[in-house]
Structure formats: structure tokens, C-alpha cells
Amino acid sequence: MLFNSFEFILFLPITFLLYWYVFKRLKMQNIFVIAASYLFYGFWDWRFLILIFITTLCSYLSGLYIARKTNGGGRWLLIANIVLNIAILGVFKYFNFFAENLNALASVFGMQLGELTINIWLPVGVSFYTFQALGYVIDVYRKQVTATHDSVAYFAYISFFPQLVAGPIERANNLLPQFTQPRKADYATMCDGLRQMLWGMFKKVVIADNCANAVNYIFDYYTTLSGSTLAIGAVLFTFQIYCDFSGYSDIAIGTARLFGITLMRNFNMPYLSVSIADFWRRWHISLTSWFRDYVYIPLGGNRCGKNRHIFNIAVVFALSGLWHGANWTYVSWGLYHAILMILFVLAERKIGKTIETVRGLPNLKMILNMLATFALVAVGWIVFRAESIGQAYEYCVRMFSASFFSAPSAEVGYVKSFAAIAILMICEYAQRNRNHVLDIEKNITNRAMRWVIYYALVIAILLFSVAQTKFIYFQF
């Protein structure tokens, strides 16, 4: 069930009313959350439910057994659990990728391995809930989280529908306790949740979907378009992916708040970053922090020799790229960012002053830093969006040709998208110290004025919406 679908418009109010008015007891509320979440997820394909059930059950039981073993015996169970989860991802997401590459490698040595690929469905959001379950078991092993005996709370924690298919990838110490304690309905929180949902919907429908039309055209016909048009394509995709994914996160976080649940922040205005390190503190925060805590730090983080530190960065970014999908373009995108981060580390730069500390407008140096960071990130997105590394390379070569300075093609409609992007950036800058752009209760105390803004956004959504599209991050 998509957030921007008719089914969800029916599903959400019904679930909300039943949750608060019918299932008032904590246990019953949690059971209802599981039922609603499984219904939400089963809308894609009921078979997906089997996999999420197995993942949840295994991690729940592993947590209990690991907590019981005080003499270190839980280590094997932890390893078994990690292997199981990686195996699930390996089979459903990466099997064909590795099989094809193995076949290609074998053919280099003159060997024929035959047909290795399998016809298998990729469950929506499998990477998200697998990582959430994995994080819990590791936290229990590290004794950073107490293993829960409350199976209902745990199943609700893994399956909670707002964040099930595209995150944020929640951590047990934040989300799990919220399912073991009674939730309180708070008017201000729920109102703010609705505002965040509205802003998320605006980003998805008005910006991301409109950018998508131009982006698809430019990437389909990149061999016939000028360098300047290709640059516009790269910039539009940069905003498309941000508004698509952060729009989803906003809707997810806002929806969760309607149910008295606070999810972690997943994006913090990443295109206002002043350096690549700053960018990675603001982009897909839940995944970045997951890799930091469960991969980067166990490898030694930055508290080791320079070479080892560089290796750690490379590993984390390559894995982060691979997490996004079974394609070399994603791995290359990860490695591209690894190179940028390594250069940042080698230059012994610090993040320093960020946009939140600025009063009024940023100075010229900061603006140049932001533009440079944006340009580097945008080039990375070309690799991410391309169908192959060859296509990404050719796109970049054509983009940075002499026609980069020519007038962009008028065939591609992008004026509307750029106008919406300008609104987005102005609003984000103005609200840089807030949780989200529509966190305006303190800025605008007049309710009528606030409602005018809400109506303006709703009307923009209705008028500027294009054909309904899926959220990009569902495929990961």
C-alpha cells in the first residue's frame, strides 16, 4: 500500500480511530498495530508476510537466548543470526547479482557455469526491516538493550507500518520502549505529525514526481541532448531522490506521531551541507548511523592508523552502496563517496561551522562550500541513477563537454520543477533549526495564517500532481 494511494487514504483514518477508540489497552493496541501493519504490507503480496514473520521470530528468540547466556555463549547465536539475515538478503536481493558476476568471472577464465540465476521475488523493504532486526540482536549481545520478553511489542516494533517498507531504520533503544509503555495522545504532537505528513506529500507529489518526468526523459535520451541539459537532469535527479525519500520519511514520521510514536529523524536538510562529511550526517541518518555503529566502529572507526581508517571508510561506503541494490552502479556510488570522504579525512578538515549556527544569510565562503558539496553529490547521483557504469561514464563525458555552456533543451519541461525546488530550498533554509519545514506553530501564531499555508500546499498537491509513482526507496 503506497502512502500516496487511495487505499491508504481509507486505511489510515480507520486504523487511527480503531487504535485510539477501540483498542485502548496497551497489549490490544500492539496486537492491532501488528494486524494493521501486516495488512498494510500484505497489500503488496501476502507471501512477503512469511519472510517478515520468520525474520521477526528468529531475532526475537535470538535476543532472548543471547540475553540468557552470560558467559559469552551467545556469540555463536549472534553469528548465526547475522548469517541468517545476511543469507535472507543474499538470496532474495543479491543471489542473481552474484551469480551473474560469478558467471562473467568464470567466462574470463574460459569456464562455463551454465544458468545460475533464479526467478525470485524481491520483498518490498526487506533491507529495512532486516537491518532493524539485526540491530536489535547485536544491541542485546552488546548489552546496550535489554532483550524483551514481550513478543507482541517486539513484533509491533519490527512491523510498525509507517516505517516498515522504507524506514527510518529504527533502533531498539528508541522504538521498542515505546511499544512497552502506554502511549499518550497529545494534540500538539499529532497536529505536528499531520503537518509533517503534508510537507512530505508536497515534496513527493509536487517536486519528486514532477522532476521524475524530466529526469526520465533526459536519462532516456542523454545521447542526443546537450551538456547543459544533462547537467539539469543531474540536478533534477538530485532533488527527485531527496524529495522522494525524505518525503516518504516525513510521511512515515508524521503518521507514527498520530499513533503516539516518535521515530528518529532521517534527513536534516542535506543539500545545505557545507562539506561531504556534513552531508553524511544529514542524509539517510538512520542507515548512516546503523553502518557507523555496527560496521565502522567495530572495524576500528577512526581510532586506528590512517591506512586502517581509510580502509574502514571504503568498506562502510561500499557496503552502503551495495545495500541500495544489486548493481555495480550502487557499489560505485558508494565508492565514489568513500573517495570524497577519504580526501576529506586526508585533508584533515573538520566539519566546523554548519548552517544551523548561521544567523541571517550565510557568508560567501559558506555558500561556495554548499555549492561545491552539492555539485559533488549531484555527480554521484548520476552514477546511482544510471543503468550501468558505462552509461554513467558516457553521461558524465557528454555533460562535461563543450555543450555544457550552451542553452539547455527547451523540449524538456523543467521550469515548474525548478520553481518548486526554489520554494523548497528557501523554506528549508528558513526552518533550518526546526524538525521539519512545517514546524511553524512558533513562527506563525495566527492559526488562520497557518491554515492558509496548509490549504496552499493541498491545492498545490492537487494541481501539480502527475501520474502516481512508487517511492524510489521501496526497491531497496
Binding site: 487511495f6 487505499e7 481509507l10 485510539w20 477508540y21 495522545a185 497529545d186 494534540y187 499529532m190 497536529c191 499531520l194 491554515w451 496548509y454 490549504y455 493541498v458 492537487l462 494541481l463 500532481s465 502527475v466 501520474a467 502516481q468
Partner: protein, 301 residues
């Protein structure tokens, strides 16, 4: 209670929007569409019909009921698949007391196509709303549930003042005039690509075709299946398996029921350049020529 307060405020906020959307729904429903015109047409003259034309755009633009020597009506419509042909026939057959012939076009895609799974699934809403056939789903209860299409439809009619019910009183499509033909009308390869589908619905469609034949037989109606003429750039590119499956299904039904006949004009050389609006649709000129052939078939029966 904070939730009650929230709900009160949400209702208050949504009230003007609901009014606005209700007006939008009402005004969109007021746009005349072929579905409504055909439904009303059938309500008025179903009892007098001797021939009924079903099928997709191939027959909607290719067979003109006014030019037949028997009283006829066309229920054909763009992207109409066999399922909807069956549902429409089933819903009107009790009123069609004089019906003797059902003309059903069998196209290259007919045995592989399902309206709901294709790009034309919005049409399921229009069948439900205006012709009262098909399943109820959340998407087909309201025009505005398919917001993008509803928006386009509203602009098309109220802003650009275009006609969305461009058919004759007997249900024949008037939009494919030779004088309006595009310069690049010869799009055979492109249309074949569009109409080449997966075979997953083959058995299902075969079953529906049998049901249509059986329904006709039970009412002593002759089922005349025809493949409409196509241009050589179209028929030369057709997928052999999909085409073979089409012929196999048609032959099976013809062999099984005595009331079913099949005529194949797909490669008929009598249809020349000006008879086509595009590679697989007849122009108004071609439609008259083809209707004359259908008339001669009816006369022979």
C-alpha cells in the same frame, strides 16, 4: 480529549476541501462520455436491435452500425476486452429481444489482454460508473479517485471545450477521420510492440470467449467473429506465437459451437492506404468499406 479535538479540527479543515472535491466530482460526472451515451442508447433501443457490435477500438472505429442493413448498435469502445464484452452482453441481453447477430472483433491482442492490468485500467471506473458493469473497488467508486485522469478530463472538457462523447447515435466512433490522420500514421512496429503481451491471460480469455459463445447459443444468436483489416507494417511484425494462440482459440470456439463464425480480414489487400487511420485502425473511409463486408456476411447468414 485530544483526539476528539484533533478530529474536530481535521473535519473543519477538510470541510472546504470536501466541498471543493464534491463539486469537482459532480462536474466531472457531468462531462458526457461515450460510456454514458452508449448506456443510454442501449436503454432506449435495445429491444429493436438485430445486430450488436462489441469489441475494442478496432470495431468502435471500424464498424458503422448505421451503414448495416439491419438495425444495429455498437457497444464497442477503446481498450474494451473480452471480459467487458461479456459483461456488457450479459447485462443487456435480456432487453435485446430481437437480437440475431453479435459481431465480435478478434484482434491480435484479444486473447492476451486484460483491461484492468493494462494502461487503460481507468476505463474500469467508467464502465462501473456509467454502464454499471464490473467490480466495485475503492478506485472505481469515484472519478476523483483517479485524480490525474479526472484532472485531465476536466481540463479537456471545461477548459479546451473538447468533446469526450465523439460517437454517432448508433455508437460508432467518429474521431478517426482520414482528414485528421497524422503524417506518421504508419506506426505498425510501434503498435505491434504495444499489443504484444504476455500469455498469462490466455486461458482466462479463452474461457470468456467460450462464455460469450455459450450465452449467444442459449439465446439463438449468431456470433460473428471478425479480425479487422490491418496495414502490412503491422501484420508483418506480429509475434507468431501470440497470433497462433489467437487462431487456435478462435478455431476451438468455432468448432465447439454451431452458432459461431469467424472471418479474417487482417491481411485483406482490398484495404489500401486511405482506408487506414493508423497501422491497425481503419479510417472513416475504411470503416464504410469494412462495414459493407460485414453487411454481406450478415446477409449470407
Amino acid at each position: 480529549m485530544p483526539i476528539t479535538r484533533l478530529i474536530r479540527h481535521i473535519i473543519l479543515f477538510l470541510l472546504p476541501l470536501t466541498v471543493l472535491l464534491s463539486i469537482a466530482e459532480y462536474s466531472i460526472r457531468k462531462v458526457p462520455v461515450t460510456y454514458q451515451v452508449k448506456y443510454n442508447g442501449m436503454q432506449q433501443c435495445a429491444g429493436e436491435m438485430r445486430a450488436l457490435v462489441l469489441g475494442s477500438s478496432h470495431s468502435y472505429f471500424g464498424i458503422c452500425p448505421d451503414s448495416l442493413s439491419v438495425r444495429a448498435y455498437s457497444l464497442a469502445n477503446v481498450s474494451q476486452d473480452l471480459t467487458y464484452d461479456y459483461m456488457l452482453l450479459n447485462s443487456f441481453i435480456d432487453k435485446c429481444n430481437s437480437l440475431e447477430y453479435v459481431i465480435l472483433p478478434i484482434s491480435y491482442f484479444s486473447m492476451y489482454e486484460r483491461l484492468e492490468s493494462g494502461v487503460g485500467n481507468i476505463r474500469a471506473t467508467w464502465y462501473r460508473l456509467y454502464m454499471h458493469v464490473g467490480k466495485y473497488t475503492p478506485e472505481n467508486m469515484l472519478e476523483i479517485a483517479n485524480w490525474q485522469v479526472a484532472k485531465k478530463k476536466w481540463i479537456y472538457y471545461y477548459v479546451h471545450h473538447n468533446n469526450m462523447a465523439d460517437c454517432s447515435v448508433s455508437g460508432f466512433g467518429l474521431a478517426y477521420k482520414l482528414s485528421d490522420r497524422a503524417k506518421n500514421w504508419d506506426n505498425g512496429e510501434e503498435h505491434v510492440k504495444m499489443n504484444t503481451l504476455s500469455d498469462s491471460e490466455y486461458e482466462y480469455n479463452k474461457n470468456v470467449l467460450n462464455k460469450i459463445a455459450l450465452l449467444c447459443k442459449s439465446r439463438n444468436i449468431k456470433l460473428i467473429m471478425v479480425s479487422t483489416p490491418t496495414w502490412h507494417t503491422y501484420y508483418d511484425k506480429l509475434n507468431a506465437k501470440q497470433l497462433a494462440d489467437m487462431y487456435s482459440a478462435v478455431n476451438e470456439v468455432c468448432g465447439k459451437y454451431g452458432n459461431v463464425f469467424y472471418y479474417d480480414y487482417m491481411r485483406d489487400k482490398r484495404f489500401t492506404d486511405n482506408d487506414f487511420f493508423d497501422a491497425d485502425h481503419l479510417s472513416d473511409v475504411g470503416a464504410m468499406k469494412f462495414t459493407a463486408l460485414i453487411d454481406s456476411i450478415i446477409a449470407k447468414q
